[in-house]
């Protein structure tokens, strides 16, 4: 899976399931401050990652994710590890 495919899927679920406006989706958007994604929402992001990308996230792996580009990078890396 290419980075572009990862970004496309992540952006799609943020828009469809988290009801985030498309113009708010930027690589440097901060989850908490810009996208108003709180810790409970990260539980649902874990669920969606498992469904969309086929790997299980360990809770502690998500702690460093602050902005959208962190999530793209993390998923890209994990997809490679699990493929």
């Amino acid at each position: 899976m290419t980075k572009e495919e990862v970004i496309k899927k992540v952006d799609a679920f943020l828009i469809d399931e988290f009801e985030i406006e498309a113009d708010q989706i930027k690589p440097d958007a901060n989850f908490k401050d810009d996208l108003e994604i709180e810790s409970l929402d990260f539980v649902d992001i874990v669920v969606i990652i498992e469904r969309e990308f086929g790997f299980k996230v360990k809770g502690e792996e998500m702690t460093h994710i602050r902005q959208l580009s962190d999530l793209y990078d993390y998923i890209e890396e994990q997809v490679k590890v699990h493929s």
């Binding site: 399931e17 009801e19 409970l40 874990v46």
Partner: protein
């Protein structure tokens, strides 16, 4: 003690999705009962159930507020918004004044089942998602609505089986009479799905009269063969008289009596003395006698033993003149919701001067023959009514409501 009134009501049920639709159905004797094909596939004894559509709340509520709501929570949200609008309790008022919530609910089966299915399949609890716990608990409706509505008053759920929401209204009445709270959002919610009804179906308590589903729920009728499960949600705004007057809110009715008791016997088979005690306590609380009641909304679920014992209790107290009906003939048994919904149905009859028909009441049995029950609508002025709700474990609740002139 403070006087307690009802200033708003809202309903989402199998016989209508708002007050106006429900009033039309009650007036015309419309049934909300049908067949659920899933129950046939799942090997249920009875596929009969109240038929209801889930409201679509996407775009109405933000995601975080929406995903914690189970099915009955969605019904409760819609019913409560209707009640709040009627009571003129907007968000600005709620932010500046203490408003509480006491709601009846006694199950939330589907979220529990779904969560366990995921854990068993995936061996990872995180994959259950963040909304499940808030959907799964019995207090789901009160915990969600108190957040959505920004409430700062009393906040808990009453679980008293099929008397849950009647007790919730009774408890609210006491808190307000005591001056501990001025406004409490009260009601009951009931999920309508096969998963929550399988174990009840297994007790052979449900009607299997599938030839004509609208004829299956037949309280007090000689040919009844069991209850029909149903649900939805109903909300009433309970408020002190002074608060209602001060706000200029519409006063729909006054709550004057609450009676309660426990049978102290069998877990599922009701008796006569327990309900009688609840009825007598409610009359005493209201400071009136049986002859002052113009109409009784019976619990009457369409089970032989339940109806028969209630008929005897009602006859012992009211004799044969007081008009009695069972709105469950139309709605089916709304269980955790029925205490609150039947207060609303009865207020609608009081406001519009009629007693809804006990549809399917065609032939009485030896006990119901002694009571004043009609299969037809009766045009009648109602100043005071009494509503019964009884539940598993022998819990009984009775409320008395009167017109404010």
């Amino acid at each position: 003690m403070k006087r307690v009134v009802i200033t708003g009501m809202g309903v989402y049920s199998t016989i209508g999705k708002n007050i106006e639709e429900v009033n039309d159905s009650l007036y015309n004797g419309v049934s909300g009962i049908g067949i659920d094909a899933k129950r046939i596939d799942d090997g249920f004894r009875s596929p009969l159930t109240g038929i209801i559509e889930r409201p679509i709340l996407k775009g109405v509520l933000p995601r975080r507020m929406r995903i914690g709501l189970p099915e009955q929570g969605e019904y409760a949200y819609v019913a409560t918004m209707e009640a709040l609008e009627m009571a003129q309790l907007d968000e600005e008022f709620r932010l500046k004044n203490e408003v509480g919530i006491l709601y009846g609910n006694d199950s939330s089966a589907v979220p529990v089942i779904n969560a366990i299915d995921i854990v068993r399949a995936k061996k990872d609890t995180t994959l259950v998602g963040s909304g499940s716990i808030f959907q799964s608990m019995n207090s789901s409706i009160t915990m969600n609505l108190s957040v959505i509505l920004k409430l700062t008053g009393v906040n808990f759920t009453i679980s008293g089986a099929c008397a849950s929401s009647s007790h919730a209204i009774g408890m609210a009445m006491i808190l307000i009479q005591q001056g501990l709270q001025d406004i409490i959002i009260c009601g009951g919610g009931q999920e309508v799905n096969a998963e929550s009804m399988g174990s009840f179906d297994g007790l052979s308590a449900f009607s299997t009269n599938t030839a004509d589903p609208t004829k299956a729920s037949r309280p007090f009728d000689r040919d009844r063969d069991g209850l029909v499960p149903s649900g939805g949600a109903a909300t009433v705004v309970v408020e002190s008289y002074e608060s209602a007057i001060k706000r200029g809110a519409p006063i729909l009715a006054e709550l004057t009596g609450y009676g309660f008791s426990s049978n102290g016997e069998h877990i599922s088979v009701p008796n006569i003395k327990g309900p009688s005690k609840s009825l007598e306590k409610a009359l005493k609380y209201a400071g009136i006698c049986a002859q002052d009641i113009d109409y009784v909304n019976a619990h009457a679920t369409s089970t032989i033993v339940g109806d028969t014992n209630e008929a005897q209790a009602l006859y012992n107290i009211f004799g044969s003149k007081t008009p009695i009906n069972s709105t469950k003939s139309m709605t089916g048994h709304e269980m955790w919701m029925c205490g609150a919904s039947e207060i609303i149905y009865s207020i609608l009859m009081m406001q519009n001067s009629y007693i809804a028909p006990t549809i399917n009441f065609e032939n009485p049995d030896e006990h119901s023959a002694k009571l004043n029950i009609s299969g037809n609508r009766i045009e009648k002025n109602i100043d005071t009514f009494l509503s019964n709700s009884f539940g598993f474990g022998g819990t009984n609740s009775t409320l008395i409501v009167k017109k404010v002139k």
